[in-house]
Symmetry: C2
Subunit: 326 residues, 2 copies
DNA sequence: TTGTATGCGTTATCAG
DNA sequence: CTGATAACGCATACAA
């Protein structure tokens, strides 16, 4: 096609396309011209078949419609596309079985590598996948050949949030937890406890209520707290969505935020800054985390050792938390 | 591989894999067994090369991290995956040039079809793309061969929202518009005007302020309204994000929602039900719209005429709007 | 530096 | 009903 238009062989075209070997400048020009004239675009399927690579990397996200994973996906896309790699997004819905199926789909498509955003797969399963193709996982800390893990410091994040409230004078701080079998959530709880301990505030189990990372569970958590007559002046929710639900529950009970109750969330979603009142939160740089995951994958694909390092958590103080009156 | 394991030819394996022809039951069993034993999964790249199809459909979304498009993507994924098709998501960021580049990427990958979610491409450009491969577009109404358009009734939606406020006794209703070169936004404005007219309420240009579909622009719009000393008792924002920003602006000015100002949004994002106060909005069933787009694509790919029809808008009344006090 | 031959894994077109 | 055989579009080893 292009080859005969430029009067050379297909191999030569391939060579200029990939820079595999030096070619005569004249022929190169002729080929480039022919490519432009014919609007030729190499067929990735054929390249994949011949070269063993598909120029696509699979991304197992948990929800396509999550502000958090959405930002991460954006970071991944922006890192990958300019390098000629296409991300293939599939969503696991926080379910190990679904995730495994997702990975099967990706493997069936012969993706060059897989990026897993958190999820419920076991570390073992992940390591196992890594023997077949490079794997980058966000939200774990494990080591294995062809496997790179990027983990955000949820412990420190939990600690920062709690310390912030303590510094504002709060001592009765409720904690709305995330799923118990979710490592991130447990780390945040650990941070909460550590901050309490450092301030010599006794841990009160009654102040910890379970949640499920969505708004409704935050709302219900506050209801439960109130129903059990717990006394508290502040709430730390393990993510922003639950914090928002908690704020609504407070409003329904005529508890003013922050006058009566201070609330701190986690994630610092873009929308949190427009919550009423704007939410104090621990920033988790989703876009950057996504971008770094992709960069790490790029390294892995180039047979290099990834060195990407995750930025630390940062507290963003807004209007939902204030000094305890008193 | 599988072929020789089962003692048959590759063609026969292909036949049972695709159901292309009837195969002897015994051989079929032997092949199935071999497939299971070897954990064989056909290579889509090779299938694509040989058969001219890639079993993937490109999806041009506008933002990977948007609650609205996220839900649509979820609908698309769930309709496509079970049929063995993989969606390939790329994001155009509301920019015609970027979108065109996205489509190039998709075409380079030889996707079997393209689904475009709204966007800024011209109808002409879209029709043009449709000569190469099937196209489904959400948010337009145009007709062309191999092109199916699904459009949501934004006019009626705008009308419903405004009528709701009128029925509550409001007559001074501000409108926070979307981008002027955005057809959806203009339709909503038309609906607003139509409702006003039907109720014999004179249209006041001073009550219409531009916005850009994000929270901040909603906030600024209210500031501007207040700065120009407009009198109004209600606000209809062309989307929920701006409505949330508007609510925050009101709160900052000590205008209570809904006691002093009623607010109605558009889209009914999942989070809107947890806004403070929970937001009255016009439901736009993003998940369903996505699913229907995918179903239409399936029809197109099967050389059938799509018949998918979009559900109409529906007003969801919550606490951000109430009867005007007398 | 370049062309030729071969193979990647699968489907389609033939004969049989 | 089934098996050869060619073809899909490209990359690579090899030969020149």
């Amino acid at each position: 096609m292009v080859a005969q238009a430029a009067g050379v062989s297909a191999s030569t075209v391939s060579r200029v396309l990939n820079g595999t070997a030096v070619v005569n400048e004249e022929k190169k020009q002729a080929i480039d011209a022919a490519i432009a004239r014919l609007g030729f675009v190499p067929n990735p399927a054929a390249r994949g078949l011949a070269g063993g690579r598909t120029f696509s990397v699979g991304v197992v996200t948990q929800a396509l419609d999550s502000p958090f994973y959405g930002a991460a996906m954006r970071g991944i896309e922006e890192a990958l596309l300019p390098r000629g790699l296409s991300p293939l997004f599939v969503s696991g819905h926080w379910n190990a079985v679904t995730e495994a199926r997702c990975i099967s789909v990706l493997q069936a498509r012969r993706v060059d590598g897989i990026i897993v955003l958190t999820g419920r797969l076991t570390d073992e399963a992940l390591k196992n996948y890594a023997v077949t193709q490079p794997v980058v996982v966000l939200g774990r800390s494990l080591k294995a050949p062809h496997l790179y893990a990027l983990s955000f410091d949820n412990f420190l994040g939990g600690r920062l949030a709690t310390e912030h409230l303590i510094q504002l004078g709060h001592r009765r701080i409720a904690f709305i937890a995330g799923d118990a079998d979710h490592p991130d959530a447990n780390e945040r709880l650990r941070g909460y406890r550590a901050a309490l301990e450092a301030a010599s505030i006794p841990f009160d189990e009654g102040l910890v209520v379970p949640g499920e990372y969505h708004e409704l569970s935050g709302l219900l958590a506050v209801d439960r707290l109130l129903a059990t007559h717990q006394r508290f002046t502040a709430i730390f929710a393990a993510n922003d969505q639950m914090a928002v639900g908690a704020a609504l529950a407070c409003q329904r009970r005529s508890l003013r935020v922050p006058e009566d109750i201070s609330i701190v969330g986690f994630d610092d979603l873009p929308t949190s800054q427009y919550a009423i009142p704007p939410l104090t939160s621990v920033e988790q740089p989703a876009y950057e985390l996504g971008r770094l995951s992709a960069m790490a994958m790029l390294q892995l694909l180039a047979d290099a050792e990834p060195t990407e390092v995750v930025p630390g958590p940062r507290l963003v103080a807004r209007e939902s938390s204030r000094r305890l009156k008193g």
